[in-house]
Each structure stands twice: as C-alpha cells, then as structure tokens.
C-alpha cells in the first residue's frame, strides 16, 4: 500500500485508558493497536464517546493511558511533549484576545525561547503558509471564524513540530469555509510533509483528507476498521464525486454502523 519508505512515528500497542468518574470507571479506550507512519494523514472518525479525542490527547500526553504502550518518535508521549514533537489544534481557535494574530503565533515561540528575530521570521513564514499574510497586526476579533482557525493552525506550525494533532479543528465552521480549509490543509500537508492526526465527525472530511482512516466505536472506545485510502495524494475538491471516494465513504459508514450494532 505504501508508496514510499516510511517509519513509524506513533505506535500504540494494547492501549487501554480508563477514566475514574463519579459514576464509576469508564473505559475510554480498549485494546487500541495502531501504527502511524512518517508523513501519514490519519483521520479518527466515530460517534461521541468513541475515544477518538482521548486517543489524540493521549498522544499529546494530555491524558495518561492506564495500560499498554504508546510511543511517539520512539519516546514516551511526555518526553515527546517536552521535545516539542507536536503542535495541537483545538476545536476552538482559542486565540488570546489581548494579543494580535502575530502575537498569538509568537506565544509558543516566546515560551520555547526563540530569539526575537527568529520569532519574526517564523511568524511571517507561517502566516504566509496559512494565507494570512498581512493580518499579523490585526486582533482576533477583527477576523472571521475561519481565519481565526487558520491563525491557530499557524500557531501550531510555528515551532516546526513534526506531528500536527488536530481535534475537530473545523467542526464549528460552516460547510463552505470548511471545504476551503480542507483544501488548504491538504496543500499545507503536501508542502510541509508533516504527520497529521485529525479527529472529525464528518465522513466526507475524513475521506477527502486522509491516507489512513481509523473508524472507532464507543463503549468501550475501540478501533473497528482501519482503511488505507487508495486516493492519490493530489486531491481536487471534485474527487469527492469519484467512484473510489464514494466506495471509501461507504465503507466508513458501514464501519460506524457496525460499531453501533453491538450496543
């Protein structure tokens, strides 16, 4: 399936994660096995409570697995976090209202101790990358929702992490803006060659973007299907009317339905 030599970046083996809640333990992830290779675009799709966000957060060391192994670049997620291995994009842009767009992008750079000149250079470069050139001096409230989300992606790109984790980044945006950002995300991915983990609710979004689709189902959260996409790397928006696309979408839908049956 792979058309180039890839090495595993993220590896999960027999991963379990149990949350202790007031109503007793909740199994958020059950026996998850997954390998994500260098340069993959992996989408996680499934209904609420299937553990897709939890898995992304575990990769980012924002949650602690209860058992099993999880490595990022051969290290523990926490070590990888300290080595700044990934940029994280949340559902809400979460820009600081008291900072300009450029100021927001500089936030991680300031924390990581980049020099002033390098901060400027990098800010300029990522603003261009997300097509927000010239908006650096604006404040977040002066930008539309889609532009704010682009700025938050620029912020995640600024410190050159190899892995980009995106948790329903376009979930709050309307369909038209979402289509455009999907297209731009693919371009961005092609240009930067990053490994991307992408959580979504939307079947078309998952199929359009991914080289690998992870279908998950809830209670307990687990992987029910793993699809390696046969779509070419170059994907115009109208690829969504192609036969291949419709077939994969169909398979994803079946996988989601199968997961629901065992409730």
């Amino acid at each position: 399936m792979k058309d180039r030599i890839s090495q595993p970046v993220i590896e999960a083996k027999g991963l379990n994660l149990v949350f202790q809640t007031a109503d007793g333990p909740v199994q958020a992830l059950k026996d998850v096995n997954l390998t994500i290779n260098q340069g993959d675009f992996v989408s996680f799709i499934g209904p609420s409570g299937c553990g897709k966000t939890t898995f992304l957060r575990a990769i980012a060391a924002l949650e602690q697995p209860t058992s099993g192994t999880l490595t990022v670049n051969g290290m523990s997620p926490d070590e990888a976090r300290r080595k700044r291995a990934y940029g994280y994009v949340f559902q809400a842009a979460g820009l600081y209202p008291w900072r300009t767009i450029a100021g927001n992008i500089k936030l991680p750079l300031e924390i990581m101790g980049f020099s002033k000149t390098e901060q400027e250079e990098r800010t300029e470069r990522v603003l261009e990358l997300v097509e927000l050139k010239g908006f650096g001096k604006k404040f977040p409230w002066q930008l539309s929702g889609g532009m704010q989300q682009r700025a938050s992606i620029a912020r995640a790109l600024a410190f050159d992490a190899d892995i980009l984790l995106m948790d329903e980044p376009f979930g709050a945006l309307d369909e038209i803006v979402r289509d455009r950002l999907n297209e731009e995300t693919l371009k961005l991915w092609a240009r930067t060659g990053k490994t991307i983990g992408f959580v979504t609710h939307s079947i078309p979004e998952a199929v359009y973007l991914s080289t690998k689709i992870v279908v998950m189902s809830p209670r307990p959260g687990r992987i029910t299907d793993l699809i390696d996409s046969p779509l070419p790397k170059e994907r115009p928006l109208d690829i969504r009317d192609s036969r291949d696309f419709i077939e994969i979408a169909h398979r994803v839908r079946e996988g989601l339905r199968a997961g629901h049956h065992d409730e």
Binding site: R81, F90, M112, F159
Partner: protein, 288 residues
C-alpha cells in the same frame, strides 16, 4: 447631551427635595425665635429665614455650595482651613491604602489560585474580615500602631484603607486568574510551558478585565477607609477629621462642605481609574 439629560433631571429633583427638607427642618428654629420674641411669623416670612442660618439643622444647597467654594478656593491651599489641604491629606492616605490593598489582594489571590491549602485556609478568613465593622476596628489599629512606635496617622490610616480595599481586588483576581479554560491550559501544556510562563502569558493577562473592574470598587472603599481612619479622636488633618470637627463643634456647614469635598474626591478617583482602565483595554486589543 442625551446622556446628561437624565442625570440633570435627577439632580434637579434632588435639589428640590433638599430645599424642601431644609425649609421644613430649619423652620423649627424660626418659630422658636418668634415665640420667644412674642411675635408670629407667616409661612412666607419663615421661608427666607430658613435659607441663611448660621447653624442650620440642614443647610440648603447654596449655603453648602458657598462653604465648599470658600473651603476650596477661599484661601491658600496650605491653610488649615483649606479643603484642598485636607483633601490632599485624605488623598495621600487613600492612595497609600489603595496601593497596599492592591498588592495584598493580588498576592493573596496568586497564592490562593496556586496553592489549594491557601484556598481552603485564607479565603474564609478574608470573607470573615469584611464582616467586622471597620469603625470598631479602626481605633484598635491606631492604638496598636502607636504602641509599635509608629508616630503619626499615615501608616494606620493606610492599613485601615487597605483593609477595606484589598477584598474586592482579591475576589476579582481569584476569579480572573482562574478564568482561562481547560483548553487554553492544555494548549500551554503542549508547549511544555512552565508554571511561571502559564501565569505570565495566560493567567495574568486573562485576569486584567476582572482586575480593573475591582479597582473602581477598591478605590472607593479605600477612600471610605481613610476617612474612617481620620475620625477617631485626635486627628486634626483630613476630610474625616474636618467632618468630625464640624459635627462636634456644631458647624454643620463645615461638615457638609467636607462631605461634598470627599464626594468630589471619590468621583475624581473613580474617573481616573476608569481612564486607566480604558487605556489598558486599548493596549490589550479591545474593540474600540
């Protein structure tokens, strides 16, 4: 103009009520005088006599205004009778107490947000501290500080003012420092940000709107605290002392003039805090 109109209407209403009350309250004296002289006065004769008494029960607005004018501009501002002089003394005390209150409030809030133990131990006491009437506490603070060898009133006054003004700052700052949501904290965690960086880059700037909102309350509380600190016997300087002198020596005009002087001072302080707040908001990118 559209904003001034309602304010002016209320002001005119208040002045009318004030004049009516002055006539009513001061008429007793006019009637008593007439009775002693064995004459009678009609209502029309009585009214003018209530407007210019030396020691009215309730001085009418124009008398207070004249006394206030005399107090502010009638003499050198260094004179012991100048309200500017006494106002400055009160202003100085207010600022010291305000500064001390801000520092105390912010530091306590930082500790409370950072350490759970502080949250559980200090916060209830901070709330209890505000239930003790300050007039009961003020003489104790003054006695205690003179016992400690602090001559003069500046320090005890500042402590009393800070005692009142730290609380709104504390409550607002605790809320403000806790205002960042989990997502924003997670984001900083993914950058491997230290606690210090999280505080400086996120918690502190996020708390600023709360901080400035509390300053207006705090500066007014600080002024009240300072005036209360000037009341206990022995004080000769400050608007509080002036009010007490007016009341004790039966000079209602002095008392009322000082009262209005402190109201003007409070208004100016709140105005300045408001301007500082707007400048800060502008710097922090708020929509104009």
């Amino acid at each position: 103009m559209t904003r001034a109109l309602p304010v002016l209407t209320v002001l005119i209403g208040l002045i009318v009520i004030w004049y009516a009350a002055a006539v009513w309250m001061n008429s007793t004296w006019v009637y008593d005088q007439a009775e002693r002289a064995g004459t009678t006065v009609t209502f029309a004769e009585m009214v003018p006599q209530t407007m210019s008494q030396d020691r009215p029960l309730l001085p009418p607005p124009h008398q207070v205004g004249a006394e206030l004018w005399k107090g502010l501009f009638g003499q050198a501002i260094t004179s012991k009778r100048s309200l500017v002089y006494h106002g400055y003394v009160t202003f100085k005390g207010t600022m010291m107490g305000f500064g001390l209150g801000i520092i105390t409030g912010v530091l306590l809030a930082m500790a409370i947000v950072r350490f759970r133990v502080m949250d559980m131990s200090v916060m209830p006491w901070a709330i209890i501290s505000q239930t003790i009437p300050i007039v009961a506490l003020a003489p104790m603070i003054i006695t205690l500080s003179s016992q400690l060898g602090l001559s003069g009133r500046e320090v005890p006054k500042a402590i009393i003012a800070a005692y009142l003004s730290f609380f709104p700052v504390l409550v607002s700052m605790v809320k403000g420092l806790r205002s960042p949501d989990q997502m924003q904290l997670d984001l900083l965690k993914t950058y491997g940000a230290s606690d210090a960086a999280t505080f400086l880059k996120l918690r502190l700037p996020a708390s600023m709107p709360y901080f400035f909102a509390s300053l207006k309350v705090a500066v007014a509380a600080s002024l009240v605290g300072t005036i209360v600190g000037e009341l206990p016997t022995g004080a000769i300087e400050g608007l509080g002392a002036r009010m007490l002198i007016g009341s004790q020596f039966g000079e209602p005009l002095i008392m009322w003039a000082s009262l209005f002087a402190s109201a003007i001072l409070a208004g100016l302080l709140i105005l300045v805090v408001g301007i500082v707040e707007r400048l800060a908001q502008k710097r922090m990118g708020a929509p104009a």
